[in-house]
């Protein structure tokens, strides 16, 4: 849950007065045009950047005012898939996925190996254990990143632009995977994206950030937003600018 969050780089305010809550088992979409601060919001949620003002709550815990140990406990329950995968380039895929397991569990090397190969198989990368990140394609890096994010069976999964740079089929498969994770493991998912197809395919709750007014201008189920929102910016975004382009054509014909 986020309350009264204001984000800023120095004096430059990105977004102010954000208030929303993410329910358990949601697939929560953070959407908005380019440069509106979606990724910055994500960085606040996952503890990489402290807010200029306001709070981020995980359950009842105020994340940014908690002590480091409590923060670590929270972050242990989170898995994060970064935009480019962010695999550690000096390690093989297996080592990448294994590292969080080695850090946080007392499993034996053999058990870890089995879990790693299971996670890699789940994302369709069975047999790639000994490859280095630079030896596989961008889409595969992303999936490997997901395997690493899932390594500790997190309660909350964060995705930063999961479908960016993926072909439509891979993007669809990733969406299906996200839905599957939510349904089978009960994971709460937070996705930063501006991919309309994904938004409607997986999202059941959302917040819309606007770059111009520097705050959120809509929240709720994206399907309902499309049907009911009377804000022209939200509508334009969710209809891929269909309304705006009508206006352009009309203007041109004058």
């Amino acid at each position: 849950m986020v309350s009264d969050l204001t984000m800023a780089y120095g004096d430059f305010v990105i977004q102010r007065d954000l208030n929303f809550s993410i329910n358990h088992n949601d697939i929560f979409i953070i959407m908005g045009g380019s440069g509106c601060g979606k990724s910055t919001l994500l960085r606040h949620l996952i503890g990489l950047k402290s807010p200029a003002k306001g709070h981020v709550y995980y359950g009842a815990v105020d994340f940014w005012n908690a002590d480091p140990a409590a923060r670590r406990r929270i972050m242990q329950k989170c898995g994060i898939l970064y935009q480019q995968g962010a695999l550690w380039s000096s390690m093989t895929l297996a080592e990448n996925v294994a590292l969080p397991l080695e850090e946080y569990t007392d499993l034996s090397a053999g058990d870890i190996k089995e879990i790693v190969s299971l996670k890699l198989a789940l994302v369709g990368l069975a047999g790639y254990e000994e490859f280095y990140p630079s030896e596989i394609s961008g889409g595969m890096q992303k999936r490997a990143g997901l395997a690493r994010a899932m390594a500790l069976d997190p309660e909350i999964l964060f995705f930063d632009e999961p479908s960016a740079g993926l072909d439509p089929v891979s993007a669809k498969r990733l969406d299906d995977l996200i839905l599957e994770l939510r349904d089978s493991l009960g994971t709460t998912v937070v996705v930063v994206t501006h991919e309309l197809a994904s938004i409607f395919a997986i999202g059941n709750n959302s917040v819309f950030l606007d770059a111009e007014s520097r705050t959120m201008i809509a929240q709720g189920d994206p399907h309902l937003l499309l049907a009911e929102s009377d804000d022209s910016k939200v509508k334009e975004f969710l209809t891929r600018g269909a309304m705006a382009s009508v206006a352009v054509v009309a203007g041109h014909n004058e």
């Binding site: 996952i46 972050m75 242990q76 970064y82 962010a86 550690w88 946080y104």
Partner: protein, 377 residues
């Protein structure tokens, strides 16, 4: 052959300017440019109406668009009615496209000239923050070193071995070359002067003392700053760009322990050894000159060296090497972690790492020289 692009002006009435545009308007061909039209508008203030006739226009590209745009803006400014005849459909649409999204106010970050005192203050603030960053980095590094000594630091042992190989074995060839040459140069410099007194044998003393106390550590330090410090900064900078460091942080793994510590340890372990090796090769370089050019026998040279060198000289050089190693590793890692998220930033971080390390080394060496003098070492 393409038709020459040109503008024919005519003035059917005193307040109307008629410009007939013809030919091919393409980037690379010689174009009349908007100035010819604007100068006519400027010259004759009576003109209240501009007609542009493009019926004869053959081919066009962006150069024509910029031409029309400049004129349109000028006309709007001077309140001159503008009419265009025969504009190609594509030009119309593109011009419209360029005008629908109004220029974002505030996006063009105008370089405002700041007052002098503002700039002084700004750089002072910048300086303080960078000092604070550096100190807190050193503090964190120290803490993680304590963690390591208590056996609680978490990094991969294999990483440490890799870094040791990179610092140690892989650096041998260049350290060899530089050290031999430095020994050689020292011997030559000394030989010319000492010959005047017939005291050639003291070349051995000169080379041995200089290598052991100063040049061995200094040269190794400078080589390592270029080789390893730069590599560290580039590695960590790239990891910053790839969000790999973020991934570590969010996983609750301290980048300080996982990334910086093995690099620091590898360099601190290897630098003294390399320095010792460098001392030895420098002395050999000196012997090459002594034996080859000054009629000293090898045995004489080595006996003289042995008589000169004591443990103090050698251990002083090795102590320096350890401190240089810390400076190089911290400078490289600090600049790498501070790096911004772009290719240029990584390049900047690398350069800055080398500069910081070399400046640090020389300054430390200066302090050492003063201290040793005061303490009589």
């Amino acid at each position: 052959m393409q038709a020459q692009s040109k503008i024919d002006f005519s003035q059917p009435a005193p307040d109307i300017l008629h410009a007939a545009i013809s030919g091919a308007w393409q980037i690379g061909s010689r174009l009349p440019g908007p100035a010819s039209v604007l100068s006519r508008l400027g010259a004759d203030t009576r003109i209240k109406r501009l007609i542009i006739d493009t019926n004869e226009l053959a081919e066009w590209d962006s150069s024509f668009l910029t031409f029309i745009r400049t004129i349109t803006e000028e006309c709007r400014r001077k309140k001159i009615a503008l009419a265009m005849h025969g504009l190609p459909e594509g030009v119309k649409r593109l011009l419209h496209l360029a005008s629908i999204v109004p220029e974002q106010k505030g996006t063009s970050q105008g370089k405002k000239t700041k007052p002098f005192f503002y700039m002084v203050g700004e750089s002072a603030v910048h300086f303080t923050t960078s000092i604070i960053q550096m100190l807190s980095f050193i503090g964190e590094a120290t803490l993680s070193l304590f963690n390591f000594l208590r056996g609680k630091a978490r990094f991969r042992r294999i990483d440490l071995l890799l870094f040791i190989e990179e610092c140690g074995a892989d650096s041998l060839p260049i350290v060899t070359l530089i050290s031999v040459l430095v020994g050689l140069i020292l011997a030559f410099v000394g030989a010319v002067q000492l010959k005047l007194f017939g005291a050639q044998i003291y070349v051995a003393n000169l080379v041995a003392i200089a290598m052991a106390r100063e040049m061995g550590a200094l040269m190794t330090g400078i080589i390592m700053a270029g080789r390893i410090g730069a590599a560290y900064a580039a590695q960590l900078g790239t990891m910053q760009v790839n969000e790999e460091i973020d991934a570590l942080t969010t996983m609750g793994i301290s980048p300080m322990e996982f990334l910086v510590l093995p690099r620091l340890l590898a360099l601190v372990l290897m630098m003294p050894l390399l320095t010792l090796y460098s001392d030895l090769l420098g002395i050999m370089g000196g012997a090459l000159v002594g034996v080859g050019m000054m009629d000293i026998t090898l045995v004489q040279y080595l006996t003289q060296t042995q008589a000169t060198l004591d443990l103090t000289n050698i251990s002083l050089g090795i102590a320096k090497a350890g401190i240089y190693a810390i400076i190089i590793a911290l400078a490289g890692c600090l600049r790498g972690i501070q790096s911004g998220r772009s290719a240029a930033a990584v390049g900047g971080a690398t350069t800055s790492a080398v500069v910081t390390a070399i400046v640090g080394i020389i300054v430390t060496d200066g302090i050492f020289a003063v201290l040793c003098n005061a303490l009589g070492i």
